[in-house]
Symmetry: C2
Subunit: 188 residues, 2 copies
């Protein structure tokens, strides 16, 4: 018996899972329709092409990322604790996904800057992640001072987290993310 959930959603959810865990190029249309348990006609009714499916996958990840992050941080008011909890969120997400890394970094690595629409979407997502951290550090700066320039600190924290997420996907653990959390405490 078929699941009752919306067919269009089931296609995207299955494609997302496969794109993330085994790669976009390594995932075929036939595997998506088999695992989503839908007909190929349904796939092409809802999505124009495999690339179109990729775009909607990134779009959904973008929305989910910030919605879940906001939810995870909503009860914390202190900006420094909020920043540390942002790292906890990244640790949690990685540990729940077999440390498969960042959706956007992975797609960038696979398709490069070939597709303008995808490229711009990835750039925009990374800018938004950077701005999120920037704002938290701005808030912290109203009550604390640091040893290095604020702008340098903001970029450093963003880049360390990026590096640590990549490290998680390479090493299969969140050790570096945990180290980043400890290090940030030393900055303030």
């Amino acid at each position: 018996m078929k699941q009752k959930s919306n067919v269009k959603e089931r296609i995207l959810d299955t494609a997302s899972r496969l794109f993330y865990h085994q790669g976009f190029n390594s995932t075929g249309i036939n595997q998506i329709i088999a695992e989503a348990d839908i007909a190929i006609g349904s796939l092409y009714k809802h999505y124009q092409s495999k690339s179109d499916l990729l775009y909607h996958y990134l779009e959904q990840q973008e929305t989910e990322y910030f919605a879940n992050l906001d939810d995870y941080l909503k009860d914390e008011k202190q900006p420094l604790k909020k920043l540390l909890k942002l790292i906890d969120y990244r640790i949690k997400v990685q540990e729940e996904s077999n440390c498969s890394g960042c959706h956007f970094i992975k797609v960038n690595a696979e398709i490069g800057r070939g597709d303008k629409k995808i490229e711009q979407f990835i750039v925009a997502h990374k800018e938004r992640q950077r701005d999120y951290i920037k704002s938290l550090v701005d808030e912290i700066s109203t009550v604390k001072s640091f040893s290095i320039e604020k702008k340098a600190l903001q970029n450093s924290i963003f880049l360390m987290i990026e590096g640590a997420v990549v490290s998680a996907s390479i090493n299969g653990n969140t050790n570096d993310l945990k180290e980043v959390k400890k290090t940030i405490n030393q900055f303030f």
Copy 2:
């Protein structure tokens, strides 16, 4: 007229260029033999499979990376200047390669931790890169003191560079690598 260079070398050089710039999965055997201008029989005489070619590609990148880095730094004796010049090296390599990122991070993103041999090779390469930075900071610590713990600083610098190289491949510029260089100066 065929080039005079060794056929085996030409296969690997062509495969390396294509794997790096358009991805492993997006590169076909037929494209490699066409661009290397060799016969398919020659390819399978020298390499067992496409995966075998991937392994030799990473092996060559590993050797080249550290050989070229040592050469780039050989005239600099001061450890802090050496560390800053290591960043210059990464900037130079990225700018010469259309900011295509790190060979190892890209392969990891494409094939994940599926192939044990490839996986271990990537992990070992990243460990060696981390140790290289660790040693330089150890040297610096004999003449300077820093505001945060040495171990945290060593990991931070490694992770910031990793993050900045990923950023280069996403944004198509080396702005973040240049920022990392400025930030390191502030740490000491």
